[in-house]
Structure formats: structure tokens, C-alpha cells
């Protein structure tokens, strides 16, 4: 099953895409919150990597909307702000992971594997 990367920084999208390609996982990409949310509503993904601070809807908003609509796809929130972890978990703890930037790829892989196994 495909994953989705919602991230405004093109190089980070490239990094995650390359890494997951090596691990044999195909990903879709969105470069801002609005595009990402559209794709989430239209397709079903195995996991979603969400940035918080970006154009359009921000990551926490997207997570909130998703859960409201009953979308329980595992979400991996990546942010430069570690202190937002608590805010993220206030919305949902179920299938939500928090990865502080700079992301450790090994940690990311652990979480992706965990998410994929849920599907």
C-alpha cells in the first residue's frame, strides 16, 4: 500500500521518497496542506507523513479533520518544534506518531513498518 508525504520542503520530500524507495515502498507527494488533504480524502494510504508548518492547512488541522471524518490512517507528524508533541496527542493518540526534525531515518522506518503492519 502507498504512503503519502505532505511536506512543503522539496528536498525533504525527495529524501523520504528516496529512502522509502530503497525500502521498497511507493509514495505519493503533496507540497502543501490543502493538496495533501485533498489527496487524503480521495485515496486510501497505508501511512501519511505530515509536516506541521506549511502552506494551506497545517498538519494538526489536517489530522483533526481526518479523525473527525473517521479516517484512521496512521499519521507520522514531523516537526521542527518538539514542544508541539503534546498538542498533537491532544487530538488523537491512536495511530499517531511524532518524529522531531531532524528525523532519524531508522526511527522513521520503525514507525512506517509498524503502520504498514496495521493495514
Amino acid at each position: 500500500m502507498k504512503g503519502l508525504i505532505v511536506e512543503d520542503e522539496v528536498n525533504i520530500r525527495y529524501l523520504f521518497r528516496e529512502f522509502l524507495k530503497i525500502k521498497g515502498i511507493e509514495v505519493d507527494e503533496a507540497e502543501d496542506g490543502n493538496e495533501g488533504f485533498k489527496k487524503i480524502c480521495q485515496n486510501k494510504y497505508g501511512f501519511i507523513i505530515l509536516d506541521i508548518k506549511m502552506g494551506g492547512k497545517h498538519g494538526i488541522e489536517i489530522l483533526e479533520e481526518m479523525r473527525k471524518r473517521g479516517n484512521k490512517t496512521p499519521v507520522i507528524i514531523c516537526s521542527a518544534y518538539r514542544h508541539l508533541k503534546d498538542d498533537v496527542f491532544l487530538i488523537s493518540k491512536e495511530n499517531v506518531y511524532f518524529l522531531p526534525k531532524p528525523v532519524d531515518l531508522n526511527e522513521l522506518w520503525d514507525i512506517v513498518q509498524k503502520s504498514m503492519s496495521l493495514n
Binding site: 525533504i12 523520504f16 521542527a80 514542544h83 526534525k101 531532524p102 531515518l105
Partner: protein
Amino acid sequence: MGGDKRKDKRNRRQIREVDFFMVFRWIMVLLLLLLSIYSSINRSNIHFVLIVTGIYVFINIILRIFFTGIIEKPFSLFFIYLFDIGFVTSVLMIIGEIEQNFLLFYLLTILLVSMTGGIRTSIPATLTSSFIFFYFFNRGNLIDTTYLLKVIFIFLTGIMSGLWKEIMDSKIKMKEEEDEKKMNSIKNFYKNIICSIDEGIVVIDRDGNRIIENGNYKNLIEEEYDEPLVKNLKFMIEMNRPFSTSFMTRDRRFILVKGYPLKNEMNEIEGGVGIVSDITTEKENIDFLNRTKNLANIGKMALYIAHEIRNPLNIIKGMTQLLEMKYGDKEYVEYVLENVKRIDDIIEDLLSFSRKRESIKEEIELSSFIREVALSIKNDPRYEDAKILIGVDEGMRICVDKENLRKILVNLITNGIEAKEEGAKVQIFVTKDEDLVHINVKDNGPGIPEDIRDKIFDPFFTTKKKGTGLGLCIVDKLVQEEGGTIKFYTKKGEGTIFRVSFPLNKERKEVINYERAHSGR
């Protein structure tokens, strides 16, 4: 001093009066002289009149020049008066007009002497005049009614003018006393103002002699600073420009000194006023505010750069990990990752100024908590050689945010270890007084040099090769967040003690007090 001034004033008034009296005597003498000359036109005794007048003038000049002190004394007025009466009578006798009615001259003399000396001199003057008048005019005939009427008139003039003088004197005296009272109350009012304020005040004259000095001046300025201060004031008087300066005393108080030229109503400089205030608290508050402001600015900046730096950092870290996967080189990759972490740690430190973490207070047992922190530090290979000694009584509890206290202790202990390159020894001991628990972290380093003691809590101030200069700054902030205070005691070559003090858990204290109260029964 007040009494002396009063005497001075009275004396001056008396001298004025004596001069006034003298002038009138001269006028009287001239008048008499003119009259005698006029009366002597057809007589041959004009020379005698001139000789007597000459003697009179000569004696008066001698008296005025050489015996001023005697003339000015009230009792001597009587003798001067006698002399005058004698003169008047002699002239009248010489010109042979003694029978004529020259009563006016006697009255004038009595009036003058009364107005100067009061009733004390007017009575003898009146008696003497009456006697002379009786002797020369009446030839001892007491029954002469005209003579008696004249004597009564002489007496009335003497007593009335004497009394009038006394009344005027007492009025003037009352006015003077009133003025003095007013002056005193004004003086006291200003004195009270000067003594009531917390500032020290010193006033000097042009030569540097102090005129006023309040109690707080002595309290604030020790002897060693007093002389330079007065020197500064003197210099200011020369320059005619106010000055302001501050300095730190040996016991680390900040003193602000302001000097102003003391000008009179003619705008001439008469001296200088120095105002001294202890601004230690104000300075500490300003420093604290500046520091807080600085930290808040750092926090704002950190929030911005955290995002801007961590994204590229993410790419560097990720790409390096990808390189490792692709080429299997671990050694070089390790270096990159280690330094990425270093940058990331700096950002995390900076971010700690941008947010106030919700403090979660819980009661902790200090002894075991400190041991746990020390152990975690000893487990770090960088600090494994250091000695950490802990002297804390078991069972001591305080209520703090665990994570904040951990950060505070880690920072202080690792700082202490890093203070000595080899053979570092850090002692942690806890003391307690009524309201506070003091956690002391003592190192065996070289001590903090005097010139940087004020700066050690400033952000980015560091003496270490690898430090960010944020450690103590963060400690300071966390201690404040926990409602505590931090102080340090340092001695060259002997090390430094950092003392963090927290208020004792209030509820806990009440329990202890309760226990004490009950065990005492």
C-alpha cells in the same frame, strides 16, 4: 548657637541706637552753640563758650574713637548724659542766661537718654536734671510753684519716654522671638526633609568644608569613599557642572552619586550638594529585566531559526544516513551525525527560552533524586573520571518540577566537573533553614575571575572551548520558574559554590510544625 545670634542682633541694634543718640547730641550741641553765640553777641564771654564747646567736642571724639565699647554699654549712657547736662548748664551759666527758660535743652537731653537706655537711664537723668534745675534756677526755694510744675514736667517726660522705650523694646523682642521661632521651625522642616529621605546628602562650601550631612550619608558612604567624593564635588564646583557617577563598593553594593553646584539667589556658586543612593536593588531589577527581555528575544529568534535550520539539518542527516546505506561507510557518517546532533542541541537550548513549559510540581525525595542525577552523569563517558560526592540527609523533600530540577542539577554538576581539567571533584550538599532548602554544588576549579562574575548568567557568555554559553542562563531561568533563587560564592584557586534555594514545601512545613507541636506535649 541660636542664643549667640540673638545677642549679635541685639548688639547691632544697640549700636545703631547709640549712633542715633550721638547724632542727636551733636545736633543739640550745635543748636546750643548757635544760641549761645546769638546770645553772646554783645558780651565778652564768647571765648569761654567756644572753649567749653571745644572741650565737649574733643572729649566726645575721644570717647567715640577709643571707648566705643564703653559708650555702647547702657549704664555708661547715664554718665554721658551727666556730661551733657554739665555741658548745657556750663554754657548757660557762662552766657549768663541761666535764668532764662532753657528747660527745652534739659528735656531734649532726657528724651534722648531715655530713648536709648530706657527707664533705667531715664530716672537718674530726670533726678539729676531736677536737682541741677532746682539748684541753679530756684536757689533752693522749694515752694516755687513754677519750679514744681517744671519738675513734674521733667519727670513726666523722663518716665513716659523711658516707658515708651521699654514697651518698644519688649515689642521688638517679641517680634524677634517670633521670627526666631519661625526660622527654627523652617530650619527643622528642612532638616526633617533631609533626614527623612533614604538618600545620603552632603553639602560642602567652596573650600570643601561640609556644612550639612545627613545620617544616611554616613551609612551609605564608608570613610574610604568619602574623601574622593568630596574631591569630586570640589572639582564640580570649579567646573560649575552637575555630575553623576556610580560605583560598586567592596561589599558589592551599587552606589549612585549625583553632584549639583549650590547656587545662591544671585546665581553665584556657594558650594556643592552631593546626593548618594544605594541602587543595588534597582540595578538588580534592571539587570533582571534586561536579561528576561534578552532571553525572550532569543526565544523569538529561536522559534524562527528552529524551523529554518532543522529542515536543512533534516536533509543533511537523512542524506548522510542514505549514503551510509549505499556505501556502508560508518566512520565518517558518525562524525556528520554527531555534529548534526550538536547543532540540534543548540537549537533545543535556544528554544527553551521561547516557551514556558507547564510546570508539573511533585514532591520528591532530594537525596535519592540527586543520587540518580549524579549516576546518570557518571554514566556519560566524558565525566566518568570525575568524583561526585553527595552529602544529603535522607528524607528531605521538596516540591518542584522534576524535569526542571534535573536540568538545573545536570548543568551545575557538569559545569563543576568541567571547571577543572584533571582531578575534578564536585560536592553536592543540601542545607536547610526555616523557609528554604539550599542545594549547593561545589567544585574544586580555579574560581570565577572577578571581571566575569557579572556576566556568567548572560546568554552566550562562555569561557569553555565547546560551550554555547546557554547552560547557566537556562539554569537561571529554570530556577526562577520554580520560584527559587541562585547565588554563587567563589574564591580564587579554591573553587566555586553554586547555591540554588527553593522555598520549603509549605504544606509539608505545616505537617512538620504540627508534628513538633504534638510531640512537645
